[in-house]
Symmetry: C2
């Protein structure tokens, strides 16, 4: 765990160094799959100082999976003890399913939701459908952006945190880091192996 923290810190410092060189005028990244007027809206929106705006409407993007690493299974010290709801926009997903690569500007959202009021040591509770885990309140927002120019040293992906707490989230990132290579899979997505729609594509 300490090693993971070190990796994150190093990545964070590295990201900070990168940000010194980030452009200071408005930048809009357009998905290569853009066809219609609606599609031409950039996936990632940056302001004039190079800050990423918090994505909106992501709960209606395409859901790809919900890993769950409850505190009860991690000695009470899970980095993210919640459900990880992961979303990606349909147009960017379509490019990935066709080419195996997400287009520039792709935003991947991970929204946390707490497990609903645990009654067992492992974090689970019992409902009519059985003992298990159920979705509690929203509890945090992490965003990953593909931008090969901004994050050339880390597979082209940057990581942004908008808060690890109940809503409301921050409008601008509370922390910024390049995605580390430590979790990288042999694909364009660092954790594609956990998401059936992405993993099992032909």
């Amino acid at each position: 765990m300490k090693r993971s923290v070190s990796i994150v810190l190093v990545a964070f410092m590295f990201a900070a160094a990168i940000l010194v060189f980030v452009v200071t005028k408005p930048v809009s990244v357009q998905a290569s799959a853009s066809k219609t007027d609606q599609d031409s809206v950039p996936s990632a929106v940056w302001d004039s100082s190079g800050q990423l705006h918090r994505p909106v409407g992501y709960r209606r993007w395409v859901f790809v999976g919900a890993p769950l690493t409850p505190n009860g299974l991690n000695n009470g010290k899970a980095s993210f003890p919640e459900y990880h709801h992961v979303y990606v926009e349909a147009r960017n997903l379509d490019v990935f399913l066709k080419t195996g690569l997400f287009p520039e500007g792709t935003v991947i959202v991970k929204e946390l939701t707490r497990v609903l009021d645990p009654t067992f040591p492992h974090g689970s509770r019992t409902e009519p459908s059985g003992r298990g885990y159920f979705n509690g309140i929203y509890n945090g927002l992490d965003v990953t952006v593909k931008d090969s120019k901004k994050f050339p040293e880390t597979n082209g992906w940057g990581f942004f945190n908008f808060g690890h707490h109940p809503e409301p989230y921050a409008d601008l990132p509370l922390s910024v880091a390049s995605a580390t290579r430590s979790f990288a899979a042999k694909t364009d997505m660092t954790w594609v192996q956990f998401y059936p729609m992405l993993r099992d594509k032909q």
Copy 2:
């Protein structure tokens, strides 16, 4: 558990009785929220013999939650040991968020995905992000349809199963039952309490 099984069986027989009276000519139920051409496509599609067609494209509908009742937490006998990915169409969700009621013809999909290769007794495994549950392969499709005419005795909801196994699923329901009242919440949705987007609406 036995009582639950009895309730389901009774509900199933009741549904079969109802189906005798189901119209035998093509029926299309239109969502009351319909405004545009696209919206006018019925949510639920029935064929000439009154059978519900398997929904298509539901993985791009709005995801509302993912309860998880793993076998390892249910003495190896969970009715549904998988993640329950639940989806609803945006136009129907919009009506619910505005009125507290889903419009006629609303289809709610529950797709199961197995947990990824468990290595612990509770069904979990360890990955770089921690010990927990990760999405495995798709493993079943259940569909709930709101149709007050077809299911007047059960809050207007009917339940359809298209298979509890890996893809491909059946094109027509393998079993049909009215939703029982046993799990009913004080809302239009039998299990709204497990889905933050529905539960926490103002």
